[in-house]
């Protein structure tokens, strides 16, 4: 372009307003910038709190777009037992959901359930160069998860199960009204398709020893669970008149108990106690839960307690059995004594203090103990045991070389989700080591939000030599900008059987949402830390240096002055800032 020149010699040369031939584009105002805004996906609290490392916000948002295939693929990659957790997990994701502070949390589990029902092909995991062999002991959630990932990486996996059918606690400990066996069967079948050799009816310590496994396999993974019910320690218990809770549930499952009459006492306040009571109710008995502290201290999930009561289970708190009454081996009742709450004990919970003289005799026809389960240390002698289970390091290794462990046998939170998460972590780290990588480095690379859970997606990235695509810090609620949220909207109500049905039926209590209802619930997601293309940064940038192309934004740093208004108006906390290096000299 030929150079133009404006000459203003006379008044008549002047335009009526000041106009330049050129533009201000030559003035690179971005050089003034002190703070540099940049788009950065951060952790949503739901993701950060998932023990499995499940991409909650990812599948919720895919669901809200109606893209169930994508939702299911993301979910399945991180959680091989998603259809199980979609029914039995206690939803730390929902407890952490920032929407709780706005109106009510997203029904993440209900969305997960719809996604888990989809049939999808998870993209193949990166195969190990040299397949190794590993023995997995126990086919509960931890064993199944570990076996699945190792098989999917191409390793040779033998799965040892003491019983005939696979599933462990999922099969014998969780009643079908919470987890229908058909759902479990489908999950197990899907996992086995990864190529796992099954050795059922083979109990560690009876049919095979740890030493034998160590000799035959390059590594051993222990996940036998914790199945020995603790004794309630009342006179008369040693006669076998008291039924352990897990044994009761297993016998019902196996068809050994088809009906009950009269009154059943369940001693304990955890989830096994609730399951035993609700099962007894379904078999025809009147069920009474006896718990020694108050309702606030009951370890069972509050939803389960509420549901049990709605179905007709009687919950008696601040009572403890002191004597079993029986005729021969037949139970006739319990002598109970009232408690009051005392000062907090070592675990912070108030200690129940017996009140002498408050003894009463209550008639019962069956007494079930469900005050907790212990680990059977005899299965694997020679390992280091703590008060609450096998001692393992951060990766999941026991004190013995090449023996790893996870699940209830280990001292860790006893939930299905935690078992899956720890087993997944152990599998990825063992695989990493077998690939010649440092598990410590890998762990810090694949951790979710610095917590116990790890991410398969991040493991893929790491194996492919890609840089990490996201930040792991968790978005706080006050880092969101609620000014821009949609108006409050009610959380979806889940389909449920009427509580009265619990008296007669083992049918699943909580139903599955329609895909449409789940998608519209998912659309309530506030998208914490995740850009969802709301255009606020594009609209509000006073220097017009945010551009928009096919759902992605780009900041023109030649002109961005670093005012960080985009950061302030981002409702999601998805724009971060960093100090420009040049100012540091």
């Amino acid at each position: 372009m030929a150079e133009q020149q404006i000459v203003l010699r006379r008044l008549s040369d002047y335009p009526y307003k000041s106009i330049a031939l050129g533009t201000t584009r030559a003035n690179l105002t971005g050089r003034w910038r002190y703070w540099r805004p940049y788009y950065q996906t951060r952790r949503a609290p739901c993701d950060a709190h998932c023990p499995v490392g499940s991409p909650a916000i990812g599948f919720v948002q895919a669901a809200s777009d109606g893209n169930w295939e994508r939702a299911a693929t993301m979910l399945r990659e991180e959680n091989p037992l998603a259809a199980v957790t979609a029914r039995v997990c206690y939803r730390p994701c929902e407890a952490a959901c920032h929407r709780r502070q706005y109106d009510a949390p997203i029904a993440i589990q209900a969305v997960e359930r719809v996604a888990a029902d989809q049939t999808v092909e998870v993209p193949a995991f990166p195969a190990a160069d040299r397949p190794r062999s590993v023995a997995v002991v126990g086919s509960g959630p931890a064993g199944l998860t570990f076996a699945y990932y190792m098989a999917a990486f191409g390793h040779r996996v033998s799965l040892f199960e003491a019983r005939r059918d696979l599933g462990g606690l999922l099969r014998y400990g969780i009643p079908p009204y919470r987890l229908p066996k058909v759902v479990l069967d489908r999950e197990v079948e899907r996992l086995l398709a990864a190529g796992i050799q099954i050795r059922s009816d083979c109990r560690l310590g009876r049919d095979v020893s740890l030493e034998e496994l160590e000799a035959q396999y390059e590594a051993v993974f222990l996940a036998p669970g914790a199945s020995r019910s603790l004794a309630i320690r009342v006179p008369g218990e040693d006669t076998g008149a008291v039924t352990p809770g897990l044994e009761f549930l297993r016998r019902v499952h196996e068809g050994g108990i088809r009906g009950l009459k009269g009154r059943v006492a369940v001693v304990g306040g955890g989830n096994t106690a609730i399951d035993a009571a609700r099962t007894a109710l379904r078999l025809g008995a009147d069920a009474v839960i006896l718990y020694r502290r108050s309702r606030n201290e009951m370890p069972a999930h509050v939803d389960e307690i509420d549901r049990a009561e709605a179905e007709g289970v009687q919950v008696e708190t601040l009572v403890a059995p002191v004597e079993l009454q029986r005729r021969g081996r037949t139970v006739t009742g319990l002598v109970i004594r009232r408690n009051e709450l005392g000062a907090p004990g070592p675990d912070g919970r108030p200690v129940p203090v017996p009140l002498p003289g408050t003894e009463e005799t209550w008639p019962f026809d069956l007494v079930i103990s469900a005050i907790g389960e212990a680990v059977d240390a005899d299965v694997a002698p020679g390992l280091t045991w703590g008060s609450a289970g096998l001692v393992v390091d951060e990766w999941g290794r026991t004190g013995r070389a090449e023996v790893w462990a996870a699940g209830d046998v280990v001292d860790m939170p006893r939930t299905v989700a935690d078992a899956i998460g720890r087993a997944k972590r152990a599998a990825l780290l063992l695989d990493a080591r077998w690939r010649g990588l440092d598990p410590a480095v890998m762990l810090s690379r694949i951790q979710v939000a610095g917590g116990p859970a790890v991410s398969m997606a991040k493991y893929r990235e790491a194996l492919a030599g890609q840089p990490s695509s996201r930040a792991e810090d968790v978005v706080a609620y006050d880092q969101l900008n609620a000014e821009f949220f949609e108006p409050a909207a009610p959380r979806v109500a889940l389909p449920q059987l009427p509580p009265g049905d619990g008296r007669h039926s083992f049918r699943e209590v909580v139903g599955t949402l329609s895909a449409e209802a789940a998608a519209s619930e998912a659309a309530r997601c506030l998208s914490c830390g995740h850009c969802n293309g709301c255009d606020n940064c594009w609209i509000y940038c006073p220097d017009l240096c945010v551009s928009r192309e096919s759902g992605h934004y780009h900041i023109d740093y030649d002109y961005c002055k670093g005012c960080t208004l985009c950061v302030a108006v981002c409702p999601r906390g998805a724009i971060s800032t960093t100090e420009e290096r040049k100012w540091r000299g």
């Binding site: 008044l11 002047y14 009526y16 307003k17 106009i19 330049a20 031939l21 533009t23």
Partner: protein, 385 residues
């Protein structure tokens, strides 16, 4: 054409609608809010095909209208008092940028102390921003002045501020003629700016200007403002031809042989007309003069209108503390250097902060003006003593 019973606020909004405004931005402030509400309704119902920008402050209102106007859009807004003051910086900018924004200001006294009521201290403080300033007497004049204002603004490329009294006009309803839209369109053709902001042909506007160039830009504004007197008169004449009403730069009422002429602006003028009629009925040679334009100030027309009078009184609903009413200063300044400069010009400060200016108040002014020795310093009317 239809007649509706409209408040002054709604009359202003209808004026904007008849003018085919394309962009409007506003921030609510009493006693102006009715204008914004009506405009919002006209836009929401699709009667006015305009972009309505909800703004976070009057400063942003004016900034966004300047930008919109630079692209060639016809723009309108309304404000009052503190809101107008907040725009101050950008009032200069709008005038210097030569954008023909039309704004209605509803006169309300400036705080402190807080008040919602009427005086012109808000608008007279903006006298020197380079805007054209009009003062209206009634609701119909408000509507007509908005239409005339766009014609004038777009021809001389200066922004126009149309003032009406808060409460007396803004909240009082009276019959207002709504002109035929097609006729207004003949009167007011679409705005075609000589220079237009266009992303396809980017240029910097109003960039840094050095002392070798700046003064000429200002001189051009002064020329445009001078030309505005002729253009305004032509706009008024053309308006009269189409709509049968004329307002003039100023409006002499029974002044032909008047020995005493009282000068007023805004709604006081209506009261004054009644009082003049009473005195005329008694055979007294007394008249009134409404000043409609504060900028450009119609100096020549004022001198002609005041020619017959021996005495003049100026009623100001504003006060420049330390001197007196702004219109009083303007009148004395305009008369200076003429034969008329020897006439006594009484300055009266009336109705400050919304105190009613009644016929009885005006009788006091007439008595004082006729007295042998009217005060040289401005007189505070109806002051508690």
């Amino acid at each position: 054409m239809e007649r509706l019973i409209l408040s002054g606020n709604h009359a202003a909004a209808y004026g904007a609608w008849l003018s085919d405004v394309q962009v409007t931005a506003a921030y609510p402030i009493s006693p102006q809010t009715g204008i914004v509400e009506k405009l919002a309704e006209l836009v929401a119902t699709g009667r006015l095909k305009a972009r309505f920008i909800n703004s976070e402050s009057e400063h942003s209102v004016m900034a966004s209208l300047i930008a919109a106007s630079e692209t060639g859009a016809r723009t309108f807004t309304a404000t009052s008092s503190q809101g107008l003051a907040l725009m101050h910086e950008l009032l200069h900018w709008a005038a210097g940028a030569r954008v023909p924004i039309v704004m209605v200001n509803v006169n309300r006294a400036m705080a402190a102390p807080w008040t919602m009521f009427c005086d012109q201290s808000d608008s007279v403080a903006q006298r020197d921003t380079g805007w054209i300033h009009l003062y209206c007497e009634d609701n119909q004049e408000v509507l007509d002045s908005v239409i005339q204002g766009f014609r004038l603004a777009e021809q001389v490329l200066l922004p126009v501020m149309i003032n009406m009294d808060g409460f007396y006009i803004s909240y009082t309803a009276e019959p207002v003629e709504i002109h035929d839209l097609e006729t207004v369109r003949r009167y007011l053709p679409p705005y075609r700016p000589p220079v237009r902001l266009d992303p396809a042909d980017p240029h910097t506007l109003h960039g840094g200007t050095d002392p070798t160039m700046f003064m000429e830009m200002r001189y051009q504004m002064a020329q445009a403002m001078d030309r505005a007197l002729t253009v305004a008169e032509q706009a008024d004449t053309d308006f009269a031809a189409l709509f049968g009403r004329r307002y003039g730069l100023l409006d002499p009422y029974r002044c032909d042989d008047a020995e005493l002429i009282l000068i007023a602006t805004g709604s006081v003028m209506g009261t004054l007309r009644e009082v003049i009629d009473d005195h005329r009925a008694r055979g007294e040679a007394i008249g009134a003069l409404k000043i409609r334009y504060l900028r450009p100030f119609p100096t020549d027309a004022l001198r002609r209108a005041l020619a017959p009078a021996r005495k003049v009184a100026v009623i100001d609903r504003n006060v420049s503390i330390g001197m007196g009413g702004v219109f009083w200063q303007e009148v004395r300044s305009a008369l200076h250097g003429t034969e008329a400069a020897s006439k006594p010009v009484l300055g009266v400060l009336a109705g400050i902060g919304g105190r009613d200016v009644t016929p009885r108040s005006l009788e006091t002014v007439i008595d004082l003006a006729r007295s042998d020795d009217p005060p040289e310093r401005p007189f505070w009317l109806d002051l508690k003593r």
